[in-house]
Symmetry: C2
């Protein structure tokens, strides 16, 4: 089995995300240094394996025994995180080889992204790694994270466990995504910063996350791809099983020029990327917020069976904005059946708007559930968008109950609710109900769900044919 290339890759990358022990080469006592921050984040995220700070001058850092050299560490080291200046990296790599370290993340910059000298250094590093049979992430990257084992070898500190795995060619964009997920309690599963991709690239991590059960959704920010043909094969294969969400930098001429300055990638023709994403079922986000929103909704909601959506709201204005957005997105606002209307009219005040969007006006959370459940059996309604305006308590519990009874996706927007909104939003996220801050963002996220559902249907049908 180990001769199977995918199995081999899996074994190698498992070490990166689930090492038994980690060394931080370049661990620092100075709280402003990356070598300190990374060590502190691994400790504070609750990593349970053994940790070896390596620093030629320190005996102890953050309460951990420090070692003057990697070779002095008295236990085996699975993963080394390197945060020392570039010229010292080759020597550190050699020691990693001697110590039989299994994988390395090189955070240090100063390689091929800088100049020819750096390029030569990067080549040297890669040769040492290949000779020692060590896989490398980076160099010039913002590290890695696996929240499920508390391995936050990156920054800022991200601890919240979730179902989204991230591959990113930009440290900050991955960090921004992770910060939002942390703050909302959505969490992430794993995150890898590609950096210069001297060895491991986006294709390797796509394949790995594609097999990883904890990665329900894979979101990737790229500026180019290492091998277009391979990318298509891998993406098509994974998309059949789990959603892939892409954000591609360098759509425009100005952006392409900036891409070349940033990572030396050729941004490539945007029309080609667009076509490739469509064909392979990759859901493309147009902005960083969409990137996050799409991943969030696809990680948590079941897929709708069609384009029919029902909007229930306590805020007329938001219902209107959502209806406008649904029409833009090609979603169908299915009207309630006569029978459903009859049942609802007997249970709700006449001031409600008995259609789609269904406006409850001033109301309580149980009425949202009532409207959803009374329309839940309608075969032309494939999912719901519930928009809470005002401070409406218990929204989370009622939507959770409605989800369980109708077994169709229910997506929530919550706005204008002050402190109650914050409480309900946190509860909903912990219950796996994605909440969005505006009607338009809710509809855009819902559309991503529909788009991926339609791709899955097409591929399943083509398998049957």
């Amino acid at each position: 089995m180990k001769n199977n290339p995918l199995e081999k890759l899996k074994t190698q990358l498992d070490i990166i995300f689930n090492p038994s022990s980690v060394a931080v080469i370049g661990a620092s006592r100075d709280p402003m240094k990356v070598g300190h921050v990374v060590l502190r984040n691994i400790v504070e995220a609750g990593y349970k394996g053994r940790i070896a700070p390596v620093n030629p001058k320190a005996h102890e850092i953050l309460g951990l025994k420090a070692y003057t050299s990697l070779l002095e560490v008295p236990f085996p080291v699975d993963l080394a995180i390197i945060v020392i200046p570039a010229p010292f990296v080759p020597q550190a790599m050699r020691e990693c080889g001697e110590k039989r370290v299994k994988a390395i993340v090189v955070i240090s910059g100063g390689f091929s992204e800088v100049d020819e000298e750096g390029e030569a250094l990067e080549k040297e590093v890669l040769e040492i790694a290949e000779e020692a049979g060590i896989r490398v992430v980076g160099p010039n990257c913002q590290g890695i994270n696996n929240t499920h084992v508390g391995l936050c070898a990156t920054w800022p500190l991200i601890k919240c466990k979730g179902g989204i795995s991230l591959i990113t060619q930009s440290g900050t964009l991955g960090a921004a995504f992770s910060c939002w997920a942390e703050e909302e309690g959505i969490g992430i599963s794993k995150c890898v910063n590609l950096g210069n991709k001297a060895d491991l690239n986006e294709l390797d991590f796509l394949r790995y996350f594609g097999e990883d059960k904890e990665s329900r959704v894979i979101a990737f920010y790229i500026e180019g791809v290492s091998d277009g043909r391979k990318f298509m094969d891998i993406a098509s294969d994974i998309s059949k099983r789990k959603p892939l969400i892409a954000l591609k930098g360098g759509r425009s001429p100005a952006g392409s020029r900036a891409v070349f300055s940033h990572t030396g990638s050729m941004a490539g023709s945007d029309a080609v990327f667009d076509a490739v994403f469509k064909q392979t079922g990759v859901i493309r986000a147009k902005s960083l917020e969409e990137f996050y929103d799409f991943a969030k909704v696809l990680a948590y909601l079941p897929l709708p069976e069609g384009r029919g959506v029902f909007i229930v709201t306590s805020t007329g204005g938001s219902g209107i904005l959502a209806a406008d957005a649904c029409e833009d997105a090609g979603l169908t606002l299915t009207e309630p059946s006569e029978e459903a209307l009859k049942r609802l009219r007997s249970q709700l005040p006449s001031r409600c708007t008995f259609r789609n969007p269904f406006d409850l006006t001033t109301t309580t959370a149980d009425k949202f559930r009532l409207v959803i459940e009374e329309n839940g059996g309608n075969p032309d309604i494939h999912g719901f968008i519930a928009i809470f305006g005002d401070p409406i308590p218990n929204a989370a519990e009622e939507i959770k109950a409605a989800s369980e009874s109708v077994k169709k996706p229910i997506l929530v927007a919550y706005l204008g609710g002050g402190e109650v909104e914050k409480v309900e939003k946190t509860k909903m996220h912990s219950l796996g109900i994605p909440v969005f801050p505006s009607p338009e963002r809710a509809v855009a996220a819902y559309s991503a769900l529909v788009k991926y559902s339609e791709f899955r249907k097409r591929t399943e049908n083509s398998l049957i044919d």
Copy 2:
């Protein structure tokens, strides 16, 4: 002077936003009732005038002496907030007339928005008001707010003082906007919920806020306008002095139908609204978040003299996304002059990308200021977008200093910065520097600034011609 209609309107509306005393008719002891929430918010927002809770059964509410009838209140009442069931509103209005109340906000629903009976009731209310010479906001509205005097006669509680005044046909959309402004420390100036517009409508408040010094920007959510011709006259007039930002519900057929259900307005042809907004210089937002972002940037930044924008960033990926968005928006990414480049190369490490976007890579906040100041005199650079990735302390102080020295708009995006980001963002907002959560939202907001600046130039030129 009082015979001048605008002066008369000003006097009447001043009473609504700056009353010496307020009665809450329908004040309640039950914390779940609107009549309690509104009274509590007025108290908690720190309103300094006299407050008279009116409730036939209570002697005291929230520590305030309560009165069984408005007529028992021993002091004059400027403004009455009515939150009793619709059928009792006419009698309350008559008592307001007897008590010589000067203005009324009817929060209660159950009028023309419900049925013919409600329509008749609304007509009766309006007749009583006209006879007594009292101006009315609503009925069926979410109240009013003036943060500058702590008059939060609405919900949720909004206290933060700012420069944006809001006119809204949807309570929740106004509340959502206000909540965001509260949370970010941006604040609002005044907010009025129009409700059924039985008497006062959006045109009245546009004219009032147009003259109001505390309203630096007017943002309005509408589903239709009461008088198209008048709207154009008023909007054109105000746009010459201060920015108007519009969000219009009912762009699509589905949305138009929902508009009619919500407020009985005819949404009208969207193409006509688009043309009207363009002609009158109203900046149109496509979504609720844009509505907020545009108001925020226009309330705080000076106008750029042209389309040339310079991006300085510590995050290459964000710079690329911003460059893509600038190109979409028709902004020009002006390259730095040779002299500026020379000066910067001598002061910054070679790993930086010395062009536009200018990528500082790992850096400190003072370097952002350096890059901005070294390019500040370039006549083809009319403004800056500074994008902070990573936790970068003192961003606020350095951007403030740069703003003061270059005297051109500087807009900030801050992302991936964890706890440091939160601290810096709060500081920047308190210093009047608008911060956005993503590169794309930053660029969209910057474009609104450019769009309004170009409108102002056109009108100023046409005045000169």
